[in-house]
């Protein structure tokens, strides 16, 4: 009985705090994405600007480690029984990727374009070798190209 109570408390805390944190995080992501819209990020390897010279090129990268809350982990384990889309993990990975992209852009605010962007995800932390997803790291990196004015 005590165990069950403990478990339910954990789920309740996970649900309340996790949902709130996610909402706040998404709000800040939207805000910063809007602010950085002027800087295009492309996966192409070259950009052609016939009339302008390239002033500089440098590597930029951004990363974020994000973990899932207890409630969502529970939901995902339920989902494992029936199969189908695991929505709770979708939002987790989405947040990590977008946060990493934003951080990469913030490193190159003066650049004209960021070319050859790659995004990678890897699991780290305690559960990395086990089945469950503990926390994951998203890393985005690319080459920031600045054109001469």
């Amino acid at each position: 009985m005590n165990n069950l109570l403990f478990f339910l408390t954990l789920i309740a805390i996970g649900y309340v705090v996790g949902t709130l944190a996610e909402k706040l995080h998404y709000r800040s992501i939207h805000e910063r994405e809007k602010k950085l819209l002027y800087l295009p990020v492309v996966t192409m390897k070259t950009v052609t600007h016939p009339d302008k010279k390239i002033a500089s090129a440098e590597l930029v990268c951004g990363s974020a480690v994000i973990s899932i809350d207890y409630f969502k982990r529970f939901l995902a384990s339920l989902r494992n029984i029936f199969g189908g889309t695991v929505k709770s993990y979708e939002s987790l990975i989405d947040r990590a990727r977008r946060e990493a992209l934003i951080r990469m852009k913030e490193m190159a605010v003066d650049a004209t374009v960021i070319v050859n962007v790659r995004i990678e995800i890897s699991t780290i932390g305690r559960n990395a070798n086990k089945k469950g997803v503990g926390c994951l790291e998203a890393i985005a990196y690319g080459t920031a190209v600045t054109l001469e004015k």
Partner: protein, 104 residues
């Protein structure tokens, strides 16, 4: 040292190739941070300690790669890639590799 992750350095010509250079580092966080991360696992969200740790390690891996390139006499590294893998509980390996070149 110019570092890019495309095959060339835009606006410059490559005159000499030196081959592969790489740098790696394996880092673990101290127990306190691990404990905090464990707590954070309950409510979800970003693990700032780990983000910072991985950023520092990545900088170190890049630093080692640059050091190697410098010894070869290169002044730029092109086609840089990163990879992360977890080797043990709570420890992560950060690996950066690329091609050292000489540009005009």
């Amino acid at each position: 040292m110019i570092i890019t992750n495309i095959e060339t350095v835009p606006g410059k010509t490559i005159v000499e190739h030196f081959g592969l250079v790489s740098g790696s580092t394996i880092r673990a966080k101290h127990v306190g941070r691990d404990l905090m991360a464990g707590l954070k696992n309950l409510v979800g969200g970003e693990l700032k300690g780990y983000t910072q740790l991985l950023n520092e390690s990545r900088q170190q891996a890049i630093g080692r790669m640059i050091e190697q390139a410098r010894q070869l006499g290169a002044n730029a590294i092109v086609n840089v890639r990163f990879s992360t893998s977890s080797v043990a509980q709570g420890a992560a390996e950060l690996y950066a590799y690329g091609t050292a070149v000489h540009i005009e």
